[in-house]
Each structure stands twice: as C-alpha cells, then as structure tokens.
Symmetry: C2
Amino acid sequence: MGEFELIKRYFTRQARNTALGIGDDCALLQPATGTQLAISCDMLVEGRHFLSTVDPFKLGHKALAVNLSDLAACGAKPLAFTLALALPRADEAWLAPFSQGLFALADAHGCELIGGDTTQGPLNICITVFGEVPVVNGRSQALLRSGAQAGDDLYVSGTLGDARLALEVFRGSVSVPTALFEAARLRMEQPTPRVALGLALRSIATAAIDVSDGLLGDLGHILQQSGVGATVNADTAATLVAARACQTKTDGRLTTAISPAQWRDWALAGGDDYELLFTAPVSKRQAVAMVALASQTPVTRIGQIDLERGLRLVDDQGQAVPNIYTSFDHFA
Amino acid sequence: MGEFELIKRYFTRQARNTALGIGDDCALLQPATGTQLAISCDMLVEGRHFLSTVDPFKLGHKALAVNLSDLAACGAKPLAFTLALALPRADEAWLAPFSQGLFALADAHGCELIGGDTTQGPLNICITVFGEVPVVNGRSQALLRSGAQAGDDLYVSGTLGDARLALEVFRGSVSVPTALFEAARLRMEQPTPRVALGLALRSIATAAIDVSDGLLGDLGHILQQSGVGATVNADTAATLVAARACQTKTDGRLTTAISPAQWRDWALAGGDDYELLFTAPVSKRQAVAMVALASQTPVTRIGQIDLERGLRLVDDQGQAVPNIYTSFDHFA
C-alpha cells in the first residue's frame, strides 16, 4: 500500500464543516463571524508517550484526546484537526484500528480531519487541533492561564494520578490487583477530554489549564501567569485517584501496600491526567456545581488562590505539607 | 536544559499578528473579516527528508519552506505556524542554528510561530502553517488543483531536478564537479517557497500545486482533480535543471558524463523541488510574464492542458517520449 492509497483508505472522508478538506495543497477553514480560532499542537512519540504494545484503537483515541483537552482548557469548541503520521511501515492491521479510534472520538466532538501528512519513520503522531471561541464586544471568551484572582477557589475535574499508577505498574515498580490496574490503565490509555466542561466554564472560570504534566506543575503555570499564589489541600487531591477505591475489599481490608503518601504523590505530580484545573470566584460556587452536573463531569474544590506568591500544600488538618514535587519534563 | 527552558530560550517571541501566542493551552488566531484560513502540515523525518549531517540552520529554513510552499500553491498569504519537535536531546549547538534558520525565513514572510510542542524522541519536525485567502462575493480566491481547463497553458516556476541530483551525489550514485554539486545542494537544502508568485497568480491561474514528489507525479494530481489531460515538453523541462549549466566549461566541453536522458529524468521526476506548477488560459500569457517579473521568479511554459485524459510527453521535435516516471512515494 502506497502513501496516497493509505491516506485515501484510512483518512479521507467527505468534508463537512470546512470549505475544503483533504486532497489539495491546503485545507480551507472559515471561522464563523465573531469568533477566533484556538489552535493547539501535541506530538506523541512511541516509547515516550505510549508503549509499543498499546492497542492502536486506544492510541488513536488518545492522540486526539490530548489535543481536545487543550481546546477544553481554553473553552474552545472543537472544529477540525490535522494529522501528521510517521510510520515504520504501512501496516493495515495497525492503521485500521488506529483510524477507527481516532474518528470515534473526532465524531463524538464534531471535529473534522482536514489535512495532514504521512511519511515513513519512527512512529510519531502529531495532531494540530482547531477550535472556535466567541469574541463578544471585542473581547475573547477564551479561558486563559493568566486570569486567576486572589480569593478565587481552585478546582480540578475528574480523577488524578491513575495514569501514573498504570505507568508504574508497566514499569514494574509497583504491583497491584488486576481490577485496580485495569481502572488505572483505562485512564492512561483513553483519557476523556473535558470539552463540555470547558465550554460551560467560559463565563464562570477566571483561569484554566489542562493537567498533563502533573497537577502542581501545571498549577505553577497559572500562578506564574496570573501573578498570584495558591494553597492546595493535598489530602483532598489524594482522594481523587480513582483506582484507590479498588484497593479496599468488601471486608474493608486493603489489597495493596501502596502508602497514603504514594497516592498523594501520584495525584499531585502524576502527569498524563488531562483534567481541567481552573479557578473561579467564591460567588460562582453554585454555578460551578451546576455546570459540573450538566456536563456530567465531577469537579472537586482542592484549594484557593492567594495574594501571596508561591504554592502552599496543607493536609486535612491545615498542617503544612512539604512540596517535594516537580513537573514532568521531557528532557529532564 | 529542560523542556520549558528550551521553549523559552529558542522558540518564544512576542506575539504580533495573533491575539495570543506561545504560553497558554492554545494560541488564538483571528482571521481578518472576509478571509479564509489555508492550513497545511508537513512532517520531516531524519534520514527520510534530510540527512543527519545537514546544517541545522538550513534545516530550520527547509522545514518551514516546504510548508510555505503549500501556502504559495494555494495563493495564501502566510500568517502563522506551529512547530512540534521531537529531539533525541536538548542540544543547544543544534537548537540555536535551527531556530535561527527557521525564524530567518519566518520573518522574511511575516509568519509568526504561535505554538507547538517539544518532546524527546527520534528527530522529527512537524510544522502546521496558516495562511490567509480572501473570499470575494462569497467565492474563495484560493488556487486549487481542480480548476485546470482544456486549452490552458501549463507552467512551472524556477528550476527542477537539482535537489535530486544533490541527493544522488550524497548517495554516491553519481559524481560531479564541486561547483555543480554546490549549486544543486543549495536547492536541496534551502528551497525557496514561491510565496509572492502564488499570491500574484490568484487572479490568473486556473489551478496550481507545489512540486514536491516530482513534476509529473504532482501534475497527475491536477489532471485527476480537474478531469483533464496534458501534453508536456520533456526537453523544455530538462533545461530547467539549474546545475546543468555548471557542467559546461568555458571551452564548451562537458565536465560530467551525465546523459541528456538523466537530466530529463531528474527534471520530470526528481522530487523535493518546491516549485509551483500551474495552469492559466492562453489569454493570460502576458499577465503570467508580468507576475513572474514582478515576483522575481522565473516561470517556464512546459506544456498544455488537453481535453483528452492522460499525460503525453513530447520532445522538441514533437515526437512522443515514453512516460516511464512514477511519483515519489514514502512507502514504496
């Protein structure tokens, strides 16, 4: 199968939202009047972002999910994406499920593949995604990292740390019961981009970011760009590891030797979570609860924004917890 | 040097045209009223699109040039681009010249880096580029592959086949004098995207494509999408290999044993040319000559579009030349 046949067979579908899709030198995209385009780009490399053994269907899902997560963090409505793919060989047994996983998520969000590139090379998936953000009275409605205000509540969506737990099991550094591993693995391999929540937060949140490098590391970007500090309840965050619930058997005994400190570490600095971390005024607590409900996305208040710079961790008793966490760095 | 430091040091500059540049979950881009966005994406892989020994400055140039060439082929004005970069390590001796080469060309075209991604992995450069195309009376002014009409002239810009000659020298399959090699190598390593010509052709050309996989292969896309055929003068095309001029010494003798047929092969199916191949009505010959002059881009008429499907090659005497050429295919 040649390059053009590969593109035709697995990646060409009828253009819908766009003026012109795949098959010319460029795709043509015309954003609606009164909107801006939000653009983000993520590159996934085998052995770095995913294991060579991963199910291609799940990989197709994840490659787009991590990009949609960036749109969600901006409150942008998904429109379209480009896909550049380097493959060791044109392997149909891989391409068919990969494209199915990709399009299943794309279709769920009305996000159209409008162009891209395929080439031979070490497996590498690069997606650039385009979303729409309204501009009202000359003011963009995009959620930025820079809008957090002292006194704001700090929230995170969904669950934290599960992807890291699954990674540690793959690495052989911990051993856990199958049910617990499967719960964690689902979060690592098929994260859910919080698109509906992001859209609903446009008029509520003051700042937002998606959690990809670890909660505290990504919180650092909000704090730096907003010029504020924060206090985070580490115990609350630690409860957000979904797999943790699987460690308690019906008789109440624990099935693992994972310490509370370890759960906390994964929640605070696990990485690969693709949840939304956001701030909102205290006056918006009811509104936040309502959009969480409407978007069927759990949201947990984990702290607050402070005038005083820096990040303070506390436990449930209000006692200081040392901050030993660093953000994931691809070159560290 | 970590990932964020790397991005900050080499790839972050002040946003200009865009509403919001690097440093948030998404970049924000607001196309001017009455315009469409043209979007294209190219991935360059070490060992496939460039040699590991290539000068990083030139590679930075080429990575953007091949993308700008796609905008040129659509008649789109460059606006912005994203860069995703997988690197084996954060090597400053490579990153500094790479980013300089990239920004030198970007600045020459007013094309702004608005976002991207960096990660560790086998060297891979993925650029997605955004350009602007006017929409007049509801009609896009983009040049497409599908507009060629029977009777149109067929033109190509610049020179052909030089990149392929340089590649063959690197492969050791031919040996040529240094001056000839250097002329060819410049075309391989630093192709010139024909942006000004593409913009000027908007109201003149009926169809256009950029020549990246070989002249005849890319012509095939125009013919297929326009539902027409073409006759190409192979001898005229063969004169467009710039390096060929270097083979004749001042005393008129040839310095190489490269046959006329070989020059022709490289011109017709060399690949990596990044020239514009376009069609225009016979009535526009004067206009084509004027925009070639105005954009300082040589343009050569190499054939014509026919009602009869298929591609016919002829020589200067009008005799048929067998078409033995196939387009470059990354998986063939």
